[in-house]
Amino acid sequence: MSRLTSGKNVLLLLLLVMCLLISGCGGNKVPQEKSAEGESPQEKIPQELVIGSPWTPKELDPVSAGWLVLRIGLVDTLVAIDYDINLVPGLAKSWEISSDELEWTFKLEEGVKFHDGTPLNAEAVKWSLERVMEKGTLFKDVPIKSIEARGDYTLTIVTEELFAPLAAILAKGEAAPVSKNSLDANGEFKEIIGTGPFMLSSWIPDQEAVLVRNDDYWGKIPTLDKVVYKGIPEAATRIMMLENKELDVAQILPADAVEQLEANPEIKVYTKPILRSRVIVLNMLREPFNDLRVRKAVNHAIDRESIVKHIMAGVDVAASGPFPPTTPWVNKNLQGYPYDLEKAKTLLAEAGWKDSDNSGIIKKDGKPFTVDLITYSTRAELPPMAEVIQDQLKKAGIQVNIQVLETGAAQSLREEGKFDMYLLARNLGFAPDPSYYLMSDFHSKNTGGKGWGAYGFNNKHVDELIELTQRTTNLQERKKYFAKLQEIIVDETPVMFLNHYVNVTAVRSNVQGYNEHPTESCFHLENIYIGE
């Protein structure tokens, strides 16, 4: 017995030693970084920024996590997006389309170096883009014939047919060029070597990524020495950490928290309308949402204004279509689905759903109207929204079972079609051309499984119109197609548009220059500095 306890003691001791060792290793790094900071003499205030985001850094390969590496400034794209959602030069200082409208020629910025010192030239970009074609999904609907390096800094992309949104698609993080040294000898991705204003210093998968300034950056050299990007899924935790000065920036907070945060003089709150909508995807491949009347009825049974007013503290905007009213391509004539419970009940009755036994739940052929609504909690407002919708639909005799899952689990249920309603927040503008969003969310070849858009939606007219928008460069004509598309999509309602997102981000008051990008594509950390 005593031997056993002494054995335990040895084990405990070992554990203690290991803990000390590990913490010791961590401790060693700190002074090194400190001394590096000392080398920039002009700054007295430590230029370090800690960002808390709901999204953990799972991967850093642009092909699969392009959104993340572009946001935190590890990479640049050929084409950038300005704050007014226009395409502007990025790594490509200009681009033009040939007279037959099949060849896109990009003139690259000269003298740009990857973080490992290798030059960024047409060959390097060609290699990177070809890797995206091979491994990624970004170009799956883009008719690329070939990518050619015609000169050191001239890259030409030849398409099979005119593809108008090409430049916009190249603004997505997936298309960001990386150095060949990012891959190991077997062609597997090993580390991220981009051209961005920040370089990766260390990375703990699913927890944090630590970035340091790229002093050889070709554009505006950042003021910040070091940035820590942390993934903290709970919004309440992010708020608490911000208040405790553990975070400098807390992103994507519930609108409900604005009041509390604004009362704190040490915190600044930014509310910014972004290109994102909260939507419910309806499973059109099975009962009851394969019936248009039922889809319309459910739309009418939801009181969008009440949700915005109470759950989103009046910050967000109720939606009548996919695009927020601030975007240039919105169809302003859309009426959407005003709250009308009686109309909802009539439509349901027409479709055969009636409360025959006064149980409060409508039935058809003896089967009760019970549907599964799945959602996730990483966006704090979604579960309460789900609960309000559950209550609102109950008034129309519909029983909704809510499942709040982890993001990945929710997404895989969607992919398997094991859902009736899927409540999510969908970005519309990573590629700032509606063609891209409409293609990936509503074209019949993309509504069968993976994705975030319509599920089981198959409309020939919509398919044709989307393809037309891709083959048209004339802005006025494209707008007409977009307007028509919005009309059909709202009318057929494979996806219910609930409200347009207003992003709430809170920063400590000494953080200067924070400006949320309306497409969420980039944090533009190079503009941020720590002031007094």
Partner: protein, 298 residues
């Protein structure tokens, strides 16, 4: 002392039960526990009479109000009556807690009986499985099972049972090992009693004492685990008025509306304490070492 004939045994058991009850009266803490539990059960049964409001009815216009004359404990983030939800929550917590404890006990007692009575390979097999289950931190194992099965109250009960049965199995096996050597068991066997008869009439009743104590204590633990797992989003799904989930939903409003977390927290605390008081009292009464001391009073 122990009668071989069943008639005598009944008399003896009845006596023991009476003595347990009078001892319970003596043990103040256990009595308090029993009273609280009785009150909770009554409240759960008569919930519709106690509460005037539908625990599911939302009214967003009056969300997050503090307690007032209309709403005893105020309203939650959807304008639902918190008091009604807490009262209806008793039903959920008590039933899931008791079901989970009984299920866990059932599995544990069954496997323990098999292991102790039949011995040999059966014993080895069951005890090694017990060792394996016990070698995991129970909370981690519960989380994994509940996570794999998906978020649902039913699944949590299954997960708790799958992890918790081992403690019963060990205790029961130990008791059976000693009881089956007793003379009355031997003589019943000699009279030609079947295994099932022996197990049900002689062995099982005699090893139930410690089992009941463990179970009473574990109901509190089960209620707490269920609330904890629901807090993590693995248990009850909205709009069920489950205390753990209510607590979790109240967290974002901790400053604006602290009542959303305080009241469910208190409810969990009181219920779990009540079961622990009762369990502790029962243990004191049934512990043979303490028993002599207690019964000196009679």
């Amino acid at each position: 002392m122990r009668g071989v004939l069943t008639g005598d045994r009944y008399v003896w058991q009845k006596k023991r039960l009476n003595r347990t009850f009078s001892a319970l009266k003596e043990n103040k803490l256990a009595a308090v526990g029993l009273i609280i539990i009785s009150v909770l059960v009554l409240m759960a049964v008569f919930a519709p009479l106690i509460t005037l409001r539908d625990p599911y009815e939302q009214n967003l216009e009056i969300r997050l109000t503090g307690s007032n004359e209309k709403y005893l404990m105020g309203t939650d983030q959807f304008g639902r009556c918190l008091f009604s939800r807490l009262i209806y929550g008793i039903r959920i917590s008590l039933t899931t807690g008791v079901i989970s404890a009984v299920l866990t006990m059932g599995i544990g007692v069954f496997t323990g009986l098999l292991a102790g009575y039949f011995g040999g390979i059966m014993d080895e097999l069951i005890m090694r499985i017990t060792d394996i289950v016990l070698s995991f931190p129970s909370i981690v194992l519960t989380l994994v099972i509940a996570g794999v099965l998906g978020p649902d109250l039913k699944n949590i009960i299954i997960a708790l049972a799958a992890v918790g049965w081992t403690k019963y199995a060990r205790v029961v096996r130990g008791s059976v090992l000693s009881i089956k050597e007793q003379e009355y068991v031997e003589s019943a066997k000699a009279l030609g009693a079947s295994d099932i008869y022996l197990l049900c009439r002689h062995i099982l009743p005699n090893c139930m004492g410690p089992v009941i104590v463990i179970m009473t204590l574990s109901i509190g633990g089960a209620i707490l685990s269920i609330a904890g797992l629901s807090f993590l989003g693995l248990g009850a799904q909205p709009p069920t008025p489950e205390w753990g989930m209510m607590l979790n939903q109240g967290v974002p409003f901790m400053r604006r509306a602290p009542h959303l977390t305080i009241f469910p927290g208190l409810a969990i605390m009181i219920t779990v304490l009540a079961f622990n008081f009762l369990g502790d009292g029962l243990r004191d009464i049934m512990d043979p070492r303490l028993k002599s001391k207690l019964f000196q009073k009679f």
